[in-house]
């Protein structure tokens, strides 16, 4: 499938910060468990969200959206009432007191021949609009794709690292090792 972008005719509504008080509203039971823990092939996708001082951010929200292991795009409802069986591809995790988010999920396959990655959205108190990025599976010898190549020396911030529990993907909003955030056609930078 190719991306087709008809020229936008309407100006998008501005975003605003998620603020400090979303914890009673946005989390839901099973939000970070795309599959039940213990499912064959399950791994932990996890990392820490940090600010410009390297301090952990305790009031961030991270969302992922991903293909299933075969590279198929999930078209099933039920993320908010998980049945332990249906893979919906969507997950949401608040960060804890150490700035850490976690998801229990399966490794995505590549969609339409592309490299496999998780689509990631980041929200936080103090962050005035959402940020988008990609968390690629380790390349394991695969050639970088067009995006990774165009990013250049900071491309490493878009790669997950394998560890004993699964995949680690740290997010740095500012400063040393600042994560590469993405903008798409039709977005305005500010």
């Amino acid at each position: 499938m190719t991306a087709t972008s008809p020229a936008p005719t309407l100006t998008a509504t501005p975003g605003q910060t998620i603020g400090p008080f979303f914890h009673f509203a946005l989390p839901f039971d099973g939000d970070r468990d795309l599959v039940a823990p213990g499912t064959p092939g399950a791994l932990l996708l996890h990392g820490t969200v940090r600010d410009g001082d390297g301090a952990p951010i305790q009031d961030a929200l991270v969302e992922i959206w991903q293909a299933d292991p075969s590279g198929a795009v999930p078209r099933r409802t039920g993320s908010m009432r998980r049945d332990g069986f249906t893979f919906t591809g969507f997950g949401r995790s608040t960060t804890d007191i150490s700035g850490r988010y976690t998801f229990t999920t399966l490794a995505p396959g590549g969609v339409d021949g592309g490299l496999p990655f998780f689509g990631v959205t980041v929200f936080a108190r103090g962050l005035l609009n959402r940020l988008f990025t990609r968390a690629y599976l380790p390349l394991d010898g695969a050639e970088p794709d067009a995006l990774l190549t165009s990013v250049g020396e900071r491309a490493g911030t878009l790669l997950t690292e394998r560890d004993e529990t699964g995949l680690r993907f740290d997010i740095r909003l500012q400063g040393e090792g600042e994560t590469v955030f993405l903008t798409y056609p039709g977005h305005s930078a500010s």
Partner: protein, 253 residues
């Protein structure tokens, strides 16, 4: 605890940025991420420009939500507990459309808000206004086939915060929205017309363009108001352009 700056200092910073923006001749439609009057943004904004990506694969699709996810009763925030919540009962409705004006159908809308006294049900909300035992301030619904969402709720109160001395947020409802592709995901805040706190609020003013800011302000709509029951507000939401055509989306339903 460091001494808090005054509203006057914050006002001066807001005015300086507004002046620079006016002089620039550019048009900005989204909030600045780097907006120092909102003190918490200082260490939390990326310093590098975002990198342009052409959406591909999973990014051309959005998660699906359905009847299984949402109880229709979740759209009425006034019936979640045994009794009637305190405050001014309102309906808030509008359409969610994409950048081409097409309705975003059967998609999830989530809201959260303070109660009539400006208090959230949140352990970190220290505002000494009373908690309303009959109000949680949390709602969800799916848009209909025309992209319309509708919530019945209570008008939230303004509330104090610690950005600076005597800082108060204008009354607002937080909105979380999904589009038809991943790149349209957004969270924002809806405000009420004529709020005297607009000029003083660094979060609202982080959208430096006055026309763009007004896109977050709902309109009082007397046709939505129900006699002797509630007041009506209308607020339409435009997401960024979708990248996959609706036809492609429907093929895979």
């Amino acid at each position: 605890m460091p001494e808090l700056e005054t509203q006057r200092q914050i006002d001066a910073e807001i005015a300086a940025t507004a002046h620079d923006y006016e002089q620039s001749g550019a048009e900005e439609t989204q909030p600045r991420l780097d907006y120092a009057p909102y003190r918490s943004s200082i260490l939390r904004h990326p310093t590098k420009d975002p990198h342009h990506a052409d959406p591909e694969g999973i990014e051309l699709w959005a998660p699906c939500f359905g009847e299984r996810d949402i109880d229709p009763l979740e759209a009425d925030l006034t019936i979640q507990r045994r009794g009637e919540p305190q405050g001014e009962k309102i309906v808030v409705t509008g359409r969610v459309v994409d950048g081409q004006g097409r309705p975003v159908r059967r998609q999830l809308v989530e809201i959260w808000q303070a109660n009539a006294g400006g208090r959230y049900i949140h352990k970190r909300d220290q505002h000494p206004a009373p908690i309303d035992p009959n109000f949680t301030g949390l709602g969800r619904c799916l848009t209909d086939d025309d992209g319309t969402y509708r919530f019945t709720t209570i008008k939230p109160g303004p509330y104090p915060w610690r950005n600076h001395l005597n800082a108060w947020r204008p009354a607002h409802i937080h909105f979380s929205l999904f589009g038809t592709d991943f790149t349209q995901r957004m969270i924002t805040q809806m405000y009420f017309p004529g709020d005297p706190l607009f000029a003083l609020d660094p979060i609202y003013q982080s959208i430096v363009d006055p026309k763009a800011r007004e896109r977050l302000v709902s309109t009082y709509d007397h046709d939505l108001t129900q006699p002797e029951v509630l007041m009506g507000y209308r607020w339409d939401i435009v997401l960024t352009g979708a990248h996959a055509t609706p036809l492609e989306q429907e093929d895979h339903q």
